[in-house]
């Protein structure tokens, strides 16, 4: 159990060679071994979605994936959304539409929404709400999150 595997996580384009126990979750590896603490852990059983990151283009729950399963894969986290000081359209939309209060669930919602819209830019309203219902927020009541994602979707389509 205590033997470690040497793996490389590629997070936001940068390689992190790390040694992890096979049981170590991807979320813990991203946060503790790679120091990227923007990915949050809310339940560790795959329901709240706070730990959502994009692995090989798909939003995944990093608490339900072992770090060794992500060896060599392209991982994107909330820290990789902005380009320097320029916020990603989705980040700006969350600010503009008051889509966050405490901000704990926000990185997970951002990565979920970005991951889905990149794959499915003209997703229907109904399908979008269905996707967003896979993450939990306890502050906002979701309405402003939905507004923010819709607004960002429109902006992203223009680009």
């Amino acid at each position: 159990m205590r033997t470690k595997a040497a793996i490389t996580l590629n997070i936001n384009g940068r390689d992190y060679p790390i040694d992890v126990e096979p049981r170590r979750t991807l979320a813990d590896a991203i946060r503790e071994d790679c120091g990227q603490t923007g990915t949050h852990i809310g339940c560790e059983h795959g329901i709240c979605g706070a730990c959502t990151v994009i692995v090989s283009g798909e939003p995944v729950r990093s608490c339900l994936m072992f770090a060794v399963q992500a060896d060599g894969k392209q991982i994107r986290t909330v820290e990789g959304l902005a380009q320097g000081d320029k916020l990603h359209t989705m980040q700006q939309a969350f600010i503009d539409h008051h889509g966050l209060q405490c901000g704990f669930c926000t990185p997970g919602f951002l990565m979920l929404a970005v991951g889905v819209l990149e794959r499915e830019p003209d997703i229907s309203d109904e399908a979008l709400i269905d996707v967003l219902s896979s993450n939990l927020c306890r502050c906002t009541g979701y309405q402003n999150i939905i507004k923010a994602v819709r607004a960002a979707a429109k902006e992203m389509q223009k680009k």
């Binding site: 339940c43 209060q101 669930c105 990185p107 306890r138 309405q143």
Partner: protein, 756 residues
């Protein structure tokens, strides 16, 4: 003197957001120190029992496990004390930081493991053998009390509030209406679990605790007392806090343990709760059963209300002591005239997770109870429920309206309100009569659709004080330092708006520092929707002073009388608009250390916002599920600092209220095993369940108790949700009084449909 309102009243963007959307927040688990140890709690698997032995040999044999503590190791620490409503008779029921002799709920801390890494610490807890002799459990707070220990039983206290002659009211009654109503066990369940990181700094002889929230100063003082340290030698630091809702930031056993261990082992000690722990070990709330009677005359006027209720506080009395039942008793009458009133609340213990507050404590529960009662009066008399409310509402000319009793150390005196006006506005917005007719037509085709209405009075702005210091540094930075706390509600933005308007600078210039016990000597924290009212007024007072100081200093430098100067957009200008000007930064550089002011706002009364909710919903007869079709909220908060933030509070509260009304419930087996231990069991609303909400924020009744007329906006979104939903389900089923219990889960609705 009120400023021009360039920022107050406007929906300016939040100052808090940028680090939160870029992943640069500092939540509890984001804080680490070199060579830290990780703590993991061994929790009781048994709801009630006597501890025979705790064996840690196998755990200690694991390489990297440094220590295992049980009660004997912390026997010198007193139990955790009361922060609010601390009745003397409740003290015997306080919780020790590790179980002493007995365990009384599943999840109770029995031992603490300290290890080099959190995975290892968790492995080690599995190896700690605890032998517990099971004892009978008590799970029904309204049943017969049982033993707590050798001396005491589980009825800890009975609180009573009364006014008028209740017996005379019932003698004079034309009709008496009796109801038996229950509210389920819910909690705030913030998305960030609890966490605490303690570190002893030998060089300064200071014990630091990071991960503080809500009430850092009170917790600092209490930790110092428990650990036998001078308060100046214990400092608490609030980082980002992932939601508050009453539960987060109260002092818990784990907070004390990390501090005691950091002192003992001279190592930083980190503890991060997991979600299962959170759902069984952090405060629960809400669970009450009310047996309520109303005496009414033939026209539906309330002559008296007599309520006997049973408050299930779980296994121990925690920091809130009698707060929730006390607020329940004090706030039950709501917006109605109740000439004679008596509430008797039995504060009972059970073998379940101990309780504290949850957003709108005592009001979510009693608004459900009171509005159910009003609906029952309507059903009994055959008078329309809106008309019954209208006949009983307190008139605006009766304000200020004293209730004749107190809560949280303050007399309950409604400071201002025009309840009928707000009710009419919401009914008009909903086109209530048309809505009802349309629903009737749909019901005629077999649909189970209905509308519900509920009114409430909230309380907010609890004192006794708040203190603010505003400093302009020589570099020109404006710092507003306060002892309140941020739990995600937008305190930095709101206080910056108030400060900026009064000073005459842009709100983005104000750096709000909160939750740091080493930056200001005292503070009350963030609870009871108090921050905007108390800290807002203190901010205004300090900013008025600072502005005078700045203009006087500028007057000397500019050789102009101060009363001919103004501070506009960061610049000292002549009021006439011509002549020399001076940048604030230049003034700050010229007067280092002089540009500082502080003020303390004291208040012995709370302020009382009020509102109403309307919901239209559809019941699916096959599944028992409820779909919300329309939801409207009217809420009068005197004066809104930032309407966008107020609306955010309302809709966020409403979502939690829906959870408590329809889905969320901590249930237990007959042996006291908790059944809601994951997010797959404790069902919180998602984007699919929370409807779009039409909000109507009004400012009809500014509070006379502060300069702007602020009242707190944090709780009116949640308060009457259970009440409104219950009313609408009754309507959908066309069975007045059908709903007697929250949450109204699909199973319960199916049972109601079967019972027909």
């Amino acid at each position: 003197m009120l400023a021009k309102g360039k920022f107050v009243g406007r929906s300016v963007p939040r100052l808090e957001d940028r680090p939160l959307v870029t992943g640069r927040g500092r939540f509890a688990d984001d804080i680490s120190f070199p060579s830290q140890w990780h703590m993991r709690i061994v929790r009781s698997p048994i709801a009630h029992g006597r501890i025979r032995s705790i064996e840690a040999k196998a755990a200690l044999a694991l390489p990297g496990v440094h220590a295992v503590w049980s009660f004997a190791d912390i026997a010198h620490l007193p139990p955790i004390g009361f922060r609010l409503t601390g009745l003397i008779e409740l003290e015997a029921y306080r919780q020790t930081v590790l179980a002493q002799r007995y365990v009384r709920y599943v999840g109770e801390p029995v031992a603490a493991v300290f290890a080099a890494d959190p995975y290892l610490a968790e492995d080690a807890t599995d190896l700690v053998e605890i032998d517990i002799e099971p004892l009978p459990v008590i799970l029904d707070a309204a049943g017969r009390p049982g033993p707590f220990d050798e001396q005491r039983d589980t009825e800890t206290s009975v609180i009573e509030k009364k006014s008028g002659d209740i017996d005379a009211a019932f003698r004079a009654a034309d009709t008496v209406i009796s109801l038996d109503l229950s509210i389920g066990r819910h909690s705030g369940v913030p998305m960030e679990t609890r966490g605490a990181i303690a570190r002893y700094d030998e060089a300064r002889d200071v014990l630091e605790m990071h991960g503080a929230a809500k009430v850092p100063h009170w917790n600092r003082d209490r930790l110092a007392l428990m650990l036998g340290r001078h308060p100046d030698k214990v400092q608490l630091y609030e980082g980002h806090v992932g939601g508050g809702f009453g539960i987060r930031g109260e002092m818990y056993p784990e907070d004390v343990l990390v501090c005691a261990a950091a002192l003992k082992f001279r190592k930083p000690i980190k503890w991060i709760e997991d979600r299962r722990e959170h759902l069984i070990a952090a405060n629960h709330s809400r669970q009450q059963r009310h047996k309520i009677r109303a005496a009414i005359d033939k026209d539906g006027h309330i002559l008296g209300i007599d309520d006997e209720f049973f408050h299930d506080n779980g296994a121990y009395m925690r920091t809130h002591a009698a707060t929730v039942p006390d607020l329940a008793a004090a706030m039950l009458p709501g917006p109605y005239r109740v000439p004679a009133y008596r509430a008797r609340g039995h504060i009972r213990l059970t073998n379940k997770t101990p309780c504290g507050t949850y957003r709108a404590p005592g009001r979510y529960e009693t608004t459900f109870v009171r509005e159910r009662l009003v609906d029952a009066i309507a059903a009994k008399t055959g008078i329309d429920a809106i008309e019954i409310r209208r006949r009983n509402l307190i008139d605006k000319n009766a304000m200020p309206y004293p209730r004749g009793f107190s809560t949280l150390g303050t007399d309950v005196v409604y400071d201002s309100g025009d309840y009928a006006k707000l009710m009419d506005r919401l009914l008009a917005a909903a086109e209530w009569q048309g809505m009802r007719r349309a629903l009737e037509r749909r019901r005629a085709t077999g649909e189970k659709v209905g509308a519900g209405f509920a009114m409430f009075v909230e309380k907010s702005g609890l004192g006794p004080f708040d203190k603010v210091r505003i400093e302009v540094t020589p570099a020109g930075t404006i710092e507003l330092i306060t002892g309140v706390a941020s739990i995600g509600q937008g305190v930095e933005t709101a206080m910056a708006q108030v400060c900026a308007d009064t000073l005459g600078v842009d709100y983005t210039r104000i750096n709000v520092v909160h939750g740091q016990t080493d930056r200001i000597e005292k503070g009350m924290g963030a609870f009871a929707s108090r921050v905007t009212v108390m800290c807002g007024e203190a901010t205004h007072m300090a900013a008025v002073k600072l502005r005078e100081i700045m203009l006087a200093a500028a007057g000397q430098l500019m050789q102009t009388p101060a009363d001919m100067l103004d501070l506009v957009d960061d610049e000292i200008v002549r009021t006439g608009g011509t002549g020399p000007t001076m940048k604030l930064a230049a003034l700050a550089a010229a007067r280092p250390g002089d540009l500082t002011a502080e003020a303390e706002f004291k208040s012995s009364h709370m302020v009382y916002p009020y509102g109403a909710h309307i919901v239209q919903l559809r019941v699916d007869a096959d599944t028992g599920a409820v779909a919300i079709e329309r939801y409207l909220v009217a809420f009068d908060i005197g004066k809104a600092v930032n309407p966008m933030l107020v609306e955010g509070q309302i809709i966020g509260g409403l979502a939690q209220g829906l959870g408590g009304a329809l889905f969320e419930e901590f249930t237990y087996t007959d042996s006291g095993d908790p059944l809601a231990v994951t997010f797959a069991d404790y069902l919180m609303p998602t984007a699919n369940e929370v409807p779009a909400v039409e909000t109507f924020v009004s400012e009809d009744a500014p509070s006379p108790l502060n300069s702007y007329g602020f009242k707190g906006a944090g709780e009116g979104g949640i308060t009457p949700v259970g009440a409104a939903i219950a009313s609408a389900i009754d309507d959908a089923l066309q069975r007045p009084g059908a709903v007697t219990q929250l949450p109204v889960t699909p199973q319960r609705i199916k049972a109601m449909l079967r019972d027909r």
